[in-house]
Symmetry: C2
Subunit: 491 residues, 2 copies
């Protein structure tokens, strides 16, 4: 869906006009106002310093913002937004800038509101496991803090070292342990949100059950900054697992992956922590492009496209010996145990996970590429991948991987020739979006809509649903100053 | 919060006026229209037959509706609502009529729209565990169906024999296994909803991850029928646990209950399925009022108010021997094992659960009573109960029980003298609502707001939050025909 690396598209984006929206052009008097309410280091106007905020990490989206604001309090954010709303200045909220669909960077000259300085851990209740923190806290830093209390945030994803919890909530991030944690929204107990007009909504709560009115905070979870800016969260954290084990298995076919998934579900129950998949090409891309990566299996021949890999994680608060024995006996009966490597300690476990987590990085090493993020019945994955490889044919390298445990498949397509990028896009889009709609899948499982898929929303939602989404946007942000041209279709 | 049994309040409710709302009085021509689009048995006008729909099961709320419609399709509901909206006829949707806050019965002469005939199980995917069913399916019947596939709906509550899944979703029901399942909304993948104007919103989805726009369906989960009528749901069902064990423990004090809860959390991890509590009075009420109930412990003396009871359920897909041994050894070390009964088979397990599940029924046997439903830090429960017993003093019998595992406490107060009901209410309300607000608890953990607490919402939400809730209501139901005077404050 999004094109990673410098693509043919980036030029088009640079010149993006603001036509259709009546925004005010940023002036020095506006900046004077911001300086009057913020500290010096919270206002960035130097173009070199602004530049990294204008670009997403995939280098695909390039905004033209001239101002970054990095307020360190909710009150300051409230004042900024009230002023922007009164003066019709567009704003893009930005967390760790790790998104894949252009949701967190400007697409024209919006003011960038960075949450980086809003990064305090405010409270952790060891009895209830409820963490209260500001939106700019980095996911990994929260987990570093919680580890001392034997707790963890119920979310895990590759970008954990730089993504912000506020951005995770605003995009309803999924990740590699969805099987274990369930959806993030199930563990977000409360939020503080600043609306476009500067109004601060106190939706905070530290209790697990609270049935008092429509659950307004749910709207902000996954709203991609278009309804309000999340400034604080109350999170129901989970006890750290004391025991865990990772197995990585080479399969002769995707059918074996499905078999392993079924065995894992029925034998491991609640101790099943993750089931991941990668195809032959995904494995090859990692082996060939990631330095010093662990290579537990010989690379299969190019024609052995059916070879697939499954990663299974077992975890729990009790020793797992019995449950592991049953699972590995089952693997053995299916003649899979001799093609299985097991992480025996932390280092080995991390080495196995690194193979899985390096797939997107490996694609980036190979050149400009397209990254897709679909929800699709796992029984359809094989047919889908075979079909896509056929469709792309000699134009590009297609690799499939993803979260078997929750039905979320990723596909990367790397054109052999950069000039074919647009041709490849046209082969894939909108063909597979329409196909997914028919199959009742999703065109965005976890990456979100952002700028990239805003005008593809009709493949996800009926027209009358989109109308209500627009009404909700209008209720919270009538002047459309918050993250314009994102998440909702635009002209 | 709600007064169960015939109370002093019921008279006041009978005469409830519609002033302030410009609804049309139901006429024979309206009924003619309904007859023209519905089958004969879907239109009830006989007052004797209408009567049970006018009253909630606690006999507290008494509507004056003259018409019950029981359509068997979404299209019929769409036509009904369009007509009601065009003609300004108020409507109350009704599921199994098992609510405790007057949310599902008329409070004046609204048309009752019963979902009873919308009760088909439409699909179950054994690979993914996703159930698709209509809103009027009874929870227990869904589980009877799913049992053959070794699955269950991730919700369990006392009313399971009559409550509808649509009502469960519309009220975001909690229940006795929240520790095991998490919040219901985490497992609702999709909904079909009919809006006030008859518009059918297709929010259905059978995939677990779907980040495509603001998650509109979340608004309807817990909206108590005031934003739209849920007609169909896609539910992520869970594998049935193959093994489970229930322990019921007599504790010398509430501190021992907290200790057991801590041990259970840290030793049982994901195999912890429920931790429930009841105080001495709750146990007494069951023992004295429920025929043939299992009585594992002698009744403590009246002055032994500190005696408390804990119920712990352990469950999993694997044999629990090791984990049980550890937990029971820990109980033994705390000298609790000799005051512990363990369900060794299905019958014994059910007998133990019956004690817990009969508490509200036992209150009803004792007379008119008040039932409260709070979220409150479990470390505050003891102080709170002692304080409330002191406050009510000689006027009534106070019993406390609830879900320790998720912080949801219930209190029943049964006045010794029916005439003191109002006096007792005034001692408790709004004192504890204000106290809970200060303590960051919730005035409704799982029962919802309904009619009962609609004008108490300021104890739950800030004024500016309530304003946005009203805006959302206005966006979906501008003529306020759906469940008026429920969930939102009214005049």
């Amino acid at each position: 869906m999004s094109t990673v690396g410098k693509s043919l598209y980036s030029r088009a984006l640079r010149g993006f006009s603001t036509s259709g929206y009546n925004y005010t052009k940023l002036s020095s008097s506006h900046i004077d106002y911001f300086r009057s309410i913020l500290n010096n280091n919270e206002v960035i106007t130097n173009s070199d310093e602004v530049q990294p905020y204008n670009e997403d990490w995939t280098k695909k989206y390039h905004g033209k913002s001239e101002l970054v604001l990095k307020p360190n309090s909710t009150d300051k954010i409230s004042k900024i937004l009230k002023f922007c709303n009164d003066n019709s200045l567009a704003v893009v909220p930005q967390g760790g800038n790790t998104g894949l669909v252009g949701g967190g960077v400007p697409v024209f000259d919006e003011i960038i509101l960075s949450l980086r300085n809003l990064n305090k851990i405010e409270d952790f209740n060891v009895n209830t496991g409820v963490l209260t923190c500001q939106a700019g806290c980095i996911l990994e830093e929260l987990n570093n803090y919680l580890r001392d209390h034997s707790y963890e945030v119920p979310l895990d994803l590759g970008a954990k070292g730089s993504c912000h919890i506020g951005g995770n909530i605003a995009t309803h991030a999924g990740g590699i342990h969805f099987v274990k944690y369930g959806p993030l929204r199930a563990n977000i107990l409360g939020l503080e949100v600043v609306l476009a007009n500067g109004n601060i909504l106190n939706l905070s709560s530290t209790v697990r059950k609270d049935n008092t009115g429509f659950d307004l905070k749910q709207l902000f979870i996954g709203s991609e900054g278009a309804l309000g800016i999340i400034t604080r969260a109350n999170i129901n954290c989970l006890r750290l697992d004391k025991y865990s084990r990772v197995a990585f298995i080479e399969c002769r076919s995707f059918k074996e992956v499905l078999k392993i998934h079924n065995m894992a579900k029925s034998l491991l129950g609640r101790n099943l922590s993750a089931v991941e998949f990668m195809d032959r090409n995904a494995y090859q891309s990692v082996v060939e492009n990631i330095p010093n990566v662990h290579k537990p299996f010989e690379m299969p021949k190019a024609e052995d496209m059916e070879v697939s890999y499954a990663l299974v994680e077992i975890a729990g608060s009790q020793p797992l010996d019995d449950i592991e024995e049953q699972f590995f006996s089952a693997l053995d009966q299916e003649k899979l145990l001799d093609r299985c490597v097991i992480g025996e300690n932390v280092a080995q476990t991390q080495a196995i996970w690194q193979i899985r987590e390096s797939i997107a990085t490996a694609s980036a090493h190979m050149g400009s590429f397209l990254i897709y993020d679909f929800s699709l019945d796992i029984n359809e994955w094989e047919t889908f991948l075979v079909d896509m490889r056929k469709k792309v044919g000699p134009l590009g390298f297609v690799k499939g991987y993803g979260h078997v445990g929750d039905g979320n498949i990723h596909v990367n397509v790397i054109p052999y020739n950069k000039q074919d990028m647009e041709k490849v896009v046209n082969l894939i889009e909108p063909y597979y979006f329409a196909w997914l709609k028919e199959k009742r899948g999703s065109i965005s499982a976890e990456h979100g809509i952002g700028f990239m898929k805003a005008n593809k929303m009709h493949y996800a939602k009926d027209e009358n649903v989109i109308e209500y989404l627009k009404q909700i946007k209008a209720a919270f942000d009538p002047k459309n100053i918050l993250n314009p041209k994102k998440i909702l279709p635009y002209k």
